[in-house]
């Protein structure tokens, strides 16, 4: 675009802190989310490293065995906070709230999301929820129930469960409002000429995610509300001491939290479709199949929550049903993997940092998905449930899937967001650290889990298998440190690029979707002229990047 060399853009067109705090611009809100969500990631990562260091050897190393005067931190609080922060404050908002907020309206060729003020309100609700959680952590008695808040432990724990669950309750509304905003934007705000199947697959993925956010999150809200009522008034729904049923809590909880797994991974898949297509410079293979499989996964994701409960004492018949649907959900997931692979066939593949993360995703997510097959099989789940195998599995999906995709997406859209290029060399170095560190940390945990190491153990001294466990735990801890170094490298070179990076061109990767048609960074209202959708987002066989 000729006007791209004009120097005003969404970042500098107004100045002052209030112009950010009161902005209704989806791009600025996306950046504000980026700052707080990545801070949450750093906090969660801090606890992760603390956990790994504790497990480096049997016996207690850095945490006290029991809370004492002056040292109220325990290992249990650390892993709870790691889980709760990573799930509620980082992964769920990561891709939708940061990249989704920034890219979705531009990709659809519109000026903003449908409800800009509601979008800002979501950010504030997120901040309020986060503040309540922080208050519970630092001024209350923290929380030591695990992020799952299982009753009756959570109703009897002396930690600040009520406060923390209330914080999560508030965070849920942020998620719901963001989801509503995206669904309406996708339905009603698409640029002229853009039909449902001319939307980039990123949009499809975020759309499917938003549907889950709308339908599942309210159930989490009511669950947490009932949990608070149970703790305060003893209403008798979840606590057997008051006539309730503790397994019912697990149903209530997983009815949200299993779909929440798809709130976490679908955006990762959405980013993957972009990365693979753009950096292979090749039209996506099986567009409709990928789009439909996103929606199919979103739908089926609601029907499989009970596979978290195979050994909880639930009915064997319902376990059968849940296991069956779990395997059904494997099919669309497998289809996506094959489609991405085939997209690279006959392409023109750039080996740059975002593409490396996409390749990494193909490897790590495949491992995550395949190990899910073990856990979904009823009999096989018995010995593996609640062991490190599960820990490794969901980290391969959540981190090897979502976080890797998020990193890929961040590198992919970084030039668009800030108008600066990062160092490709350091990008690759950072990638190597992440890839090695990640696999070292979590692959060893598969072996640990198979050998029987239960999760959420602070100490593994005095077992028949202590020796065996120690070896793998040490390997895992070393890996986690490498991983931490990788994240620090990324932080440094990305921040450096903001200060001293080269100016980014409007379309550094040769992409065809609409965000590459505007300047980097985009102007305040995304496009200087209202765009019209003239070709599909992946028509690399028909359109040259320089023609858009």
């Amino acid at each position: 675009m000729s006007a791209a060399d004009s120097n005003t853009n969404y970042i500098n067109h107004t100045k002052g802190i209030m112009s950010w705090l009161l902005t209704v611009d989806h791009k600025r809100i996306g950046l504000m989310y980026m700052i707080v969500v990545l801070s949450a990631f750093a906090a969660g990562g801090f606890f992760a490293v603390a956990i790994r260091l504790e497990l480096f050897a049997p016996e207690m190393q850095i945490f006290p065995a029991a809370p004492t005067e002056g040292a109220s931190w325990t290992y249990n609080k650390a892993f709870t906070l790691h889980g709760a922060i990573m799930v509620f404050l980082f992964i769920i908002p990561s891709i939708p709230a940061i990249l989704g907020n920034f890219c979705l309206p531009i990709m659809l060729g519109t000026k903003d999301v449908a409800f800009p003020r509601l979008n800002l309100a979501s950010w504030y609700i997120y901040m309020i929820g986060a503040a309540i959680c922080l208050y519970a952590i630092f001024f209350g008695n923290s929380v030591d129930t695990g992020w799952t808040f299982y009753t009756p432990y959570s109703t009897s724990s002396s930690s600040s469960v009520t406060m923390m669950t209330f914080g999560v309750f508030v965070l849920g509304f942020s998620s719901i409002l963001t989801g509503m905003n995206f669904v309406v934007t996708v339905h009603k705000m698409r640029a002229p000429g853009m039909g449902w199947f001319e939307m980039p697959l990123f949009v499809w993925g975020i759309y499917a995610t938003a549907l889950i956010q709308i339908l599942a999150t309210p159930v989490l809200a009511i669950t947490l509300l009932l949990l608070i009522m149970e703790t305060t008034f003893g209403i008798g729904i979840f606590d057997p001491a008051n006539g309730g049923d503790p397994v019912l809590f697990q149903h209530f909880f997983w009815f949200y939290s299993h779909p929440a797994v798809y709130i976490m991974i679908l955006p990762g898949m959405a980013v993957m479709s972009e990365l693979i297509a753009v950096h292979s410079h090749r039209t996506i293979f099986g567009y409709k199949l990928i789009a439909y499989s996103s929606v199919a996964i979103a739908f089926l994701g609601f029907l499989v929550w009970g596979h978290h409960m195979f050994v909880s004492g639930q009915s064997e018949f319902i376990s059968l049903l849940f296991s069956f649907i779990t395997f059904l959900i494997g099919v669309p997931t497998a289809i996506k993997l094959f489609n991405w692979m085939t997209t690279m066939y006959l392409g023109q593949i750039s080996w740059n940092t975002p593409m490396l993360y996409a390749l990494c995703f193909m490897v790590t997510f495949t491992i995550g998905g395949l190990t899910g097959v073990f856990l979904g099989a009823l009999g096989m789940d018995i010995p593996l449930h609640d062991t490190y195998f599960v820990v490794a599995h969901f980290h391969y999906v959540m981190m090897g899937g979502t976080v890797i995709a998020f990193l890929g997406g961040l590198h992919h859209w970084w030039p668009k967001i800030f108008g600066k290029m990062y160092s490709e060399f350091w990008g690759k170095i950072g990638f190597v650290f992440i890839f090695l560190g990640f696999n070292m940390t979590f692959f060893s945990q598969f072996i640990l889990g198979q050998q029987g190491m239960p999760r959420r153990y602070a100490d593994y001294a005095g077992f028949e298998k202590t020796q065996l466990f120690e070896t793998y735990h040490q390997f895992s801890t070393v890996g986690s440190l490498i991983l931490a170094v990788g994240f620090i490298i990324i932080l440094i070179y990305l921040v450096h690029s903001l200060i001293a990076g080269k100016k980014a061109p409007a379309n550094p990767w040769g992409g065809l979707s609409m965000e590459w048609a505007t300047s980097s960074p985009p102007p305040a209202h995304n496009f200087l002229e209202d765009p019209v959708c003239k070709h599909g987002p992946y028509d690399y066989d028909k359109v040259r990047p320089e023609d858009i």
């Binding site: 809370p67 695990g146 299982y150 009756p152 057997p240 001491a241 503790p246 397994v247 410079h281 090749r282 039209t283 996506i284 293979f285 567009y287 199949l289 909880s312 004492g313 296991s323 069956f324 395997f327 494997g330 099919v331 497998a334 289809i335 993997l337 692979m341 085939t342 690279m344 066939y345 006959l346 023109q348 593949i349 750039s350 080996w351 390749l359 193909m362 490897v363 495949t366 097959v373 073990f374 979904g376 099989a377 009823l378 009999g379 096989m380 018995i382 010995p383 449930h385 609640d386 072996i447 198979q450 050998q451 029987g452 239960p454 153990y457 602070a458 028949e464 066989d541 028909k542 990047p545």
Partner: protein, 325 residues
């Protein structure tokens, strides 16, 4: 004697373990195969079709879909998934169908200890480690006193949650004598990681010796407190049933018109009948309130009751069965 584990899996020490491991290996080899297909395919394409240094973007293939290929890679995973699902269900049922000849051990979990009860009688035959005989199906009937716990023995490949407010069950048959780890795998609070114990799988003789050692019949006082106290007084006052004070040697009249003086072998037999089949002969003036105690008092303990009753009126003396204590 103790079976060895492999790099991937812990030792197989129960009858269900080989079944589960067979499924494991099946999924494992399939996973390795598909992992290689996807990774190798991805890397091969990534290398083969990479963009050369300095090359500019060109129009690329417009291959958008291939129905045959898409059907193949939808149908093959579906079929494989269904096989795994059915196999998993079969193993799951095996792990849940408790054999009729299984011996029951009651398990009580609390923060943060296990208590295994080898006798149906309260307060006797407890241990904190689990002792079981080899080659004998064992059924664990579990409940929790406080929060949810989960009993896991990796080498047996069994796991089940212990829930407050109701019972859950778990069964296994150990195949090799030895010692195995037992963990709590449902997070249960501060000392969750210290809620681990050892499973001692004993030969039949050793187990019998263990039982003889740990499951001692209760003494009169204990039985009285657990089962008789609410109806039969010791001080002569009338309750739902006749008082025990002076029972030994008393002549009782029954509702069927007969009467009996409770002494000697006849008295002992009468007491046994009253415990197991109380309504056979009912003392005049009392209701049909007494339940049978067949499941809560053993034959050995009947002897203790008889002894206890004999010595009830001589507070200075100990019944013979308590002297060894």
């Amino acid at each position: 004697m103790e079976p060895k584990g492999t790099f991937l899996l812990p030792p197989q020490a129960s009858t269900i373990a080989p079944e589960i491991d067979a499924l494991y290996m099946f999924i494992f080899y399939l996973s390795v195969f598909f992992f290689i297909v996807i990774t190798a395919g991805t890397l091969y394409f990534a290398v083969k079709y990479r963009k050369k240094e300095g090359e500019s973007f060109s129009l690329t293939s417009g291959l958008r879909h291939n129905t045959k290929l898409e059907i193949i890679w939808s149908v093959i995973p579906t079929i494989l998934f269904m096989i795994i699902f059915a196999w998993g269900w079969k193993v799951f049922l095996q792990a849940h169908a408790i054999p009729a000849n299984a011996k029951t051990i009651h398990v009580q979990a609390n923060q943060w200890a296990w208590n295994f009860q080898y006798s149906t009688l309260k307060g006797i035959g407890n241990s904190n480690d689990l002792y079981i005989p080899v080659n004998q199906p064992i059924k664990l009937s579990m409940y929790s006193k406080d929060v949810i716990h989960s009993l896991f023995i990796p080498d047996f490949r069994v796991k089940m949650d212990a829930l407050p407010g109701r019972n859950t069950t778990l069964w296994f048959e150990a195949t090799a004598v030895g010692e195995y780890d037992l963990y709590c795998t449902e997070y249960c609070g501060l000392d969750h990681s210290r809620m681990n114990r050892t499973v001692h799988v004993l030969s039949e003789e050793d187990y019998a010796a263990f039982l003889a050692d740990v499951v001692q019949p209760r003494k009169f006082d204990e039985i009285y407190q657990a089962s008789c106290r609410s109806c039969h007084s010791l001080d002569g006052s009338i309750g739902t049933g006749p008082t025990f004070k002076g029972l030994w040697g008393r002549t009782s009249e029954f509702t069927d018109g007969t009467s009996l003086t409770i002494v000697g072998d006849v008295g002992a037999k009468y007491i046994r009948d009253s415990v197991y089949n109380p309504n056979l002969q009912r003392v005049k003036g009392f209701s049909q309130a007494m339940p049978t105690h067949k499941n809560s008092i053993t034959e050995e303990e009947i002897q203790h009751i008889v002894d206890g009753l004999k010595f009830l009126d001589q507070p200075g003396e100990q019944p013979p069965s308590e002297q060894g204590n």
